[in-house]
Structure formats: C-alpha cells, structure tokens
C-alpha cells in the first residue's frame, strides 16, 4: 500500500518513470482546472429527506428505541467509528428487522442498511463510516410490527473525508 495512488486522500500521481511531456503538463493543468470548476458534490438536506421518505414510505418515525453512538467531534472524516443500538427484546414476535443509517451532506444520503433477525440476540451494530463534512446523521429502525423509530445526532468533522478529488 505504498504506491501514491493508494493514499486515501491524494490524487494518483504519475509514476516517476513516466516522461513528462508538454502535452501531459497541459492536460494535467486543464483537468485540475475542470475539477476546481466542477460543482461540489454534496447531498442537499432535501436528499436525505427523500431517502428517508423512500425507506419509510412517508410514515414519520417516532423518536426513541434506537440510538446512534458516535463521538460528537471527530478528527478524521475518512473513518468514523459509529454504533447503532436498538432497544428491543429481539424475540420472534417483537424484534428490529432493519436499521437504516442516513447522512445529510455526503454525496449520497444513504450510509448502510442492516437487516437483523430474532437470532441476533441484540440490536447492536458497529461500523466505520465516511463523513464529508460536519453534518447530521439519522438512524431509523423498522420493527417486526412495522413501526418506525428514529434517532438523530450532529457530528462535527475537523478533517473531511475526500469524497471529491
């Protein structure tokens, strides 16, 4: 993992062995300018609302029974440890079927959907996500009875994930 192109945040660089021609330099400059002028790719808060609407079918989730556990201030948006914890007995007649995680300002509003079963024992899922900038996160749990529950947190990010290079 030592090649320049594998750097999580850097642009892939030409290999040192490549001859640098005038054409290559001009192309590079042109490309860089195009990248700078390209509109920023960020989901609008509306996009998150749309993605949530698609998941819920338009039913407003109630607050509670699901909790997002994430540091309120994270240094590196490339890898943010996060846990979603549902309050449920996780029995056949009463369990969480799906936990969906959404973000407000990454290029896409979806983060992940976790499908659980009564055999899960608990409704606790941990993972690591990317955050392009400081923003809100929303988790929605769909219960076996179809009811929807949600939690929302705000995370401040000091070094953003490079979602656009």
């Amino acid at each position: 993992m030592s090649s320049p192109s594998s750097k999580p945040c850097g642009n892939p660089l030409p290999k040192a062995s490549d001859g640098v021609s005038r054409r290559a330099v001009l192309l590079t400059l042109a490309g860089g300018t195009a990248a700078l002028l390209a509109p920023p790719i960020h989901a609008e808060p509306d996009d998150m609302a749309k993605a949530i609407h698609e998941f819920t079918g338009g039913i407003s989730p109630q607050k509670g029974r699901i909790k997002i556990d994430v540091a309120p201030l994270v240094e590196n948006g490339n890898s943010v440890a996060i846990a979603v914890i549902g309050e449920s007995p996780m029995r056949a007649e009463d369990h969480i079927r799906t936990i969906a995680l959404f973000n407000e300002k990454n290029p896409q509003p979806q983060v992940a959907r976790f499908h659980l079963t009564p055999r899960s024992g608990t409704a606790r899922v941990e993972t690591r996500i990317r955050l392009a900038t400081s923003q809100h996160l929303v988790a929605i749990a769909r219960m076996s009875d179809g009811s929807l529950w949600s939690d929302e947190v705000e995370v401040i990010v000091t070094i953003a994930a490079c979602t656009e290079e």
């Binding site: 892939p12 055999r119 024992g121």
Partner: protein, 107 residues
C-alpha cells in the same frame, strides 16, 4: 484474495449472545473522486455483506459509498450449535469474498 479479519469467539455456551466482527481489505472507491486529469475514478464498493450460521442468514448489510475503506462491521448473534459461521462480501465488479470460521458451542 482479499485480506479478511474475523473476530469470533472460539467457544460459546448455548444461548449466549456473542459478538461477531468482520473486516475486509477493500478500497470502497466512492465514484466521486477524480484523477488529477479530471477523470472520475469509477465506483467500486462492496454493496452487500451477509453472515450465515446454523442453517440460515443471520445478518445482512447493504452498503453505500459512505462506508469507510476496509469496511468493518460488528454485530451479535445467539450461539445455537457448533458449526461454521460464514461471512460473504460482494462488490460492484461481482467479486465475492467468503470467509468461514468454526464456532464450538457447549451446553
């Protein structure tokens, strides 16, 4: 073969809730980054992760580009009987990575 890292207890009591943690080496290329020439680096992410144990799927995740590179997912299950626990990752190129560990369940 992609590198995987699985953290599952070797033994568990029947009925015990155990934590399963699975990590796979994968760039999770978002499709939003650009080469220095301005060309978009195509999206290549793992979009599906599943775990099978004791005859059925016990966990499934649908993943999006907002998942960090080298995705790690930890979840729980109830130990039911001794046998393999199978983890499977599927990416946009159709590559399937499978990892199996044995879990020994005691009375």
């Amino acid at each position: 073969m992609a590198g995987t890292l699985i953290d599952v207890p070797k033994t568990a009591k029947r009925g015990e809730i155990i934590r399963l943690r699975a990590l796979v080496a994968h760039p999770m290329e978002t499709g939003y980054r650009r080469e220095i020439t301005g060309a978009v680096i195509p999206r290549l992410i793992i979009h599906t992760f599943t775990c099978d144990y004791d005859g059925e799927e016990i966990f499934r995740a649908e993943l999006f580009p907002a998942m960090a590179a080298n995705p790690m997912i930890a979840f729980t299950t109830i130990a039911t009987k001794s046998g393999p626990v199978t983890f499977r990752w599927i990416d946009d190129a159709g590559a399937i990575i499978t990892e199996k560990v044995m879990l020994n369940v005691t009375e």
